[in-house]
Every structure is written in structure tokens, then in C-alpha cells.
Symmetry: C2
Subunit: 299 residues, 2 copies
């Protein structure tokens, strides 16, 4: 399997996901923005906005290569001269506060023509209001897909997501987590081809998993209180991405393409000083839920 094949499959995956998301939205379509990276490679950033379901979101594909810069060496601890990286990265902010925010990323990285390589990725869900049944469904889907490759993956990558999608300054999880993995190579016992297939399986699961959420949620007429809470939760999403998300920070500090990196920003976010909610309210319960990690699937 060549890097060209991986790159092409990821580009196909991007188009497949966009098509599936357009079907879910039923109204808005993606706009494609091609860009070229001066040092080598480029990408196609596809964004959607003001849809029936999706208020703002992006499905980005990129394949970039070039010399390993000093920043990369330092930040990523890389031993090598030339790198190649390709992947698909997604963040979707839904219009309705009862629909969850979702994020996905699959990526492949190699140094010096593949002498070293690894895969990374994950999917995680950030509901504005937590629905436990749907949280369990989401984790079950991730487990089912992961189990086809290794029964070690789900428990290990679920914990990784719990650690990763955490806002220490708020002592809060970003959402209900999901799976997250990085630096995955043959040392885990699977072949490179299988690891690649795993990332594609996750990519294909992505729109299916989101559709299941949307199909299962009965929408009320949205209230001002719900919209306000959504905007506040989006504020936390902004805080996570700009303060803690390694991909975002690395991209920004190393001179990546700002618009593609920050396509993860919500259309609108609010902040209030010392936010407090009445005990027993849905907002207070969501906050309390996010203070802990949860085993959604009983062992």
C-alpha cells in the first residue's frame, strides 16, 4: 500500500462523507475550497453552512509533504528529514441545540518514504444536552467497528479520548468522548493494511453514527434557553480547541492554513461570568455529567 493509495482513499472518504452529510441535511451542500501548500502538497477544504441540520461545519482533506521543520522536530519529537501527512478532519456544529456537535479525524503520517509511519484518528461526540441512551448507542457503534479489528482498540482508545478531550481549567470533559488514538503502527499486532482499513471503517461509520443521533432525536421548537446553553457549550468547545487541542495548536503555531484549522470554530459562541444553573436543571445535570468519565458500555 503506497502513500498515494492512502491519499486517494482519504480523498474518496471525504467525498463519501460529504455526500452522506448532505443527505442528512437535506438542504445545504458543501462548498469546496482547494488550496496549495507552498512547501509541498495541499488540500480541499469543504464547508457547509446554514443548513437544515448543520449550521456550520467542515470536512477537510489534505495531503502535505516536505522537509521536517524545526517546529515539527521540537513539537512532534520527529526523527527524520522528510514527512508526508494525509487525513480527513471534520467538525460539525448543528443548528438545533438538541443535536450534538461531532468531530472526526483520520490521518496517516510517514517519515522518509515510509521508513517510519503511523496512523491516528478518532471520533467524539459533544451533545449540548446529554442523552444517556444515545451516548451508549454512539459508544456501541465505535466498539462494534473497532472490535472488527482488535478487541483491545475500543477500551484503550475510549480511555485515550477521555484523557484527551478534557478541559483541565474547567475540570470538565468536552462531551461524552468516543475514541482517540495516535502513533498506531504494526507494533500493535495489526498489519499496515489493516490499520488503514480501520481508519476507513471509522470514516464510513462517521455519517452513519451521526445519522443515528439525528434520526433518534425528536425535535421540539427550539427555546431561547436552549439556544443560550448551546452558545455557552460552544464557548467551551472554542476553549478546548484553542487552549488544549494539540492539532489546532500545532497547526497554528507551525504556520498551517488558518482557515482550514479554524473551520472547527462554531458559528457563534457565548461566554458568561461565573455561570450557574439551578440544581436539577438539564444544564446543571449536563455539567455534573461532564465532571466525570463514564463507562458507557458495561464490561
Amino acid at each position: 500500500m503506497t502513500r498515494k493509495e492512502i491519499e486517494e482513499s482519504y480523498r474518496d472518504l471525504q467525498l463519501h462523507i460529504c455526500q452522506a452529510l448532505e443527505a442528512i441535511d437535506g438542504q445545504a451542500t458543501f462548498v469546496e475550497d482547494p488550496w496549495i501548500r507552498e512547501e509541498g502538497g495541499g488540500g480541499f477544504t469543504r464547508t457547509i453552512s446554514n443548513g437544515r441540520v448543520f449550521e456550520k461545519g467542515g470536512v477537510a482533506f489534505s495531503a502535505v509533504h516536505g522537509p521536517v521543520s524545526i517546529v515539527m522536530k521540537k513539537q512532534l519529537n520527529l526523527e527524520g528529514e522528510h514527512f508526508f501527512a494525509t487525513g480527513v478532519s471534520i467538525v460539525l456544529h448543528p443548528k438545533h441545540p438538541r443535536h450534538p456537535i461531532i468531530h472526526m479525524n483520520v490521518r496517516y503520517f510517514e517519515l522518509d518514504n515510509g521508513s517510519t509511519y503511523w496512523f491516528g484518528g478518532g471520533i467524539d461526540l459533544t451533545p449540548h444536552f446529554v442523552d444517556l441512551t444515545l451516548a451508549v448507542d454512539f459508544h456501541q457503534q465505535l466498539k462494534d467497528t473497532s472490535d472488527q479489528y482488535s478487541s483491545d482498540f475500543y477500551p484503550k482508545f475510549k480511555e485515550w479520548a477521555d484523557r484527551y478531550f478534557y478541559l483541565p481549567h474547567r475540570e470538565e470533559s468536552r462531551g461524552i468522548g468516543g475514541i482517540f488514538y495516535d502513533h498506531l503502527d504494526e507494533s500493535c499486532g495489526l498489519s499496515k493494511a489493516d490499520l488503514f482499513q480501520y481508519s476507513l471503517s471509522l470514516g464510513r461509520l462517521f455519517p452513519v453514527a451521526y445519522k443515528h443521533q439525528v434520526d433518534s432525536i425528536e425535535l421540539n421548537d427550539v427555546t431561547e434557553a436552549e439556544l443560550n446553553w448551546q452558545a455557552l457549550r460552544r464557548g467551551r468547545y472554542v476553549e478546548f480547541n484553542l487552549l488544549h487541542d494539540r492539532g489546532t495548536k500545532f497547526g497554528i503555531y507551525s504556520g498551517g492554513r488558518t482557515e482550514s484549522i479554524l473551520m472547527s470554530m462554531p458559528p457563534r459562541a457565548n461566554w458568561e461570568y461565573n455561570l450557574e444553573f439551578e440544581a436539577g436543571s438539564e444544564e446543571a445535570e449536563t455539567l455534573a455529567f461532564l465532571k466525570k468519565t463514564h463507562d458507557f458500555i458495561k464490561r
Copy 2:
């Protein structure tokens, strides 16, 4: 001059500024939130919201002390065992898009009972739409106050602000700058007492400078386009504070009091992918203006 005197003067300064800002607002008043730092000291965070002029803002005072932590040693390059820090920190987000966002900070830091000390501070202005006359007025006020202490200060600290309040990932200044300084001690030629007085003079200038802006701006009925642009500029403000501002990052990563640090967040911020404005529009002109630094006061 003892650290106790500096601390008390800064607390008085906070109250003086709040009173002056309440007079400017004419409607909303500050709410005081006292807090205690487990390792030593504490503060009074005062916030204002939903005023006639101020939509969301805070004037924070703190005086904290304790052992120099590993994070502080590493991040601040400190050689000492115990520190004391006191200061006043302000960010105000006005309701009307024609009023500018303003930020101020004055602070005093000492190690091991004053064997080493320094002052830091600054005031800078972030108009959503740049008015050149008012930008010049603002810089003139900063220069006049600074010149009373040293004619070196304004030119040096103005350039420092230009460098500091810059978003490299956007290739944009945050606003029209102002002054910024740090690690200022007797080696600059002024006594500790004078440096302290300089910080107080800046603090007293702060409400005067903001009042001049507000008094000079004739308000139209706000339009949707203006509000949208304000929300987008606030998005940039969020990006600066969470990605680049050293104070915010240090506070968050070292376990500071999150609500006080993030009182700088706007009430609401928007993001749009690949934002573009018609050539010649006020928005496009503001963006073009922020691409360069400017000498507001001819030398």
C-alpha cells in the same frame, strides 16, 4: 514603598476605575466576587454586564503570593523561591459596535521579599471599526501620560504593544495597539516609586481615555451588519487571548482562577469560514488597516 502599599493602591485603583466606568455606563453597576487562593492571597473580581455602554466586562484585582512553582520557573524563567504579585486587569466589551473594546493591565511582581521586582502593564484599544482621529487621540493620551515619566516610554512601549497584540496566524494586529511593557525596574533610570506612580497614572488615565472615545462617537441605530462584524472581530479577540496572550495562557496552564482569567471573553463571538468583504467596505478597510502597524503620532 512596601508591597502592602502597592497592593492597597491597586485595590483603590480598581474601585476608582469601577466608579468611573459606572458613570460612563449610567445604568449597570459592578458586581464584586471575592475569591481566595489556596496557596496564598486572593482577589476581588468585579464584573459588569448588560449595561447601556458595556455589554460584558470585568475589572479584576488580585494579590497573590506563595512558593514559585515548577510551571512558573519554567514559563517565567524565575530565579527565586517565593513570589508576590498584585495587579489590576481589565477587559470591556461594549454593546455598540461603534464603541471600541478596551484592555488594561497594571501589575507588580516581586521575588523573595523584593530582592527582585518589576512592573508591567499597558493599555490597548480594539475598535471594531477604526476611526483614525480617535486612534490618534488615544495614542496622544498614552504619550502625554508616559512623557511625564520618561520620553523613552511611549515610543518603546508603543512598539512593544504592536509586537505583542499581533495574531501571526491572521497576519493582523488585534486593534490599534497602545502601550505594553514588562520587567520594568530601576535599570530604566526611574526609581521604584516613580515606576509605581507611572502604573497608577496609566490606571487613572484608563477611564478618562475610554470616556473620550465614548463621548466622541456619535451613535447611529445599530445595524445587523455592524453587529455581525462586531461578533466576528470578537472572534479574533478570543483567538488572540486563547492562542497567543501570554497572561491568559500562563494563568490557564498554571492552574489560575479560570473565571477571572476568562472574564476577558466576549459575551458573544462569531466565526465564518473564509470571510470576505467587498473592496472599499468599512469592514475591508478595517482589515487592511490591521495588516500594518501605524505611527499614530508623527515624530
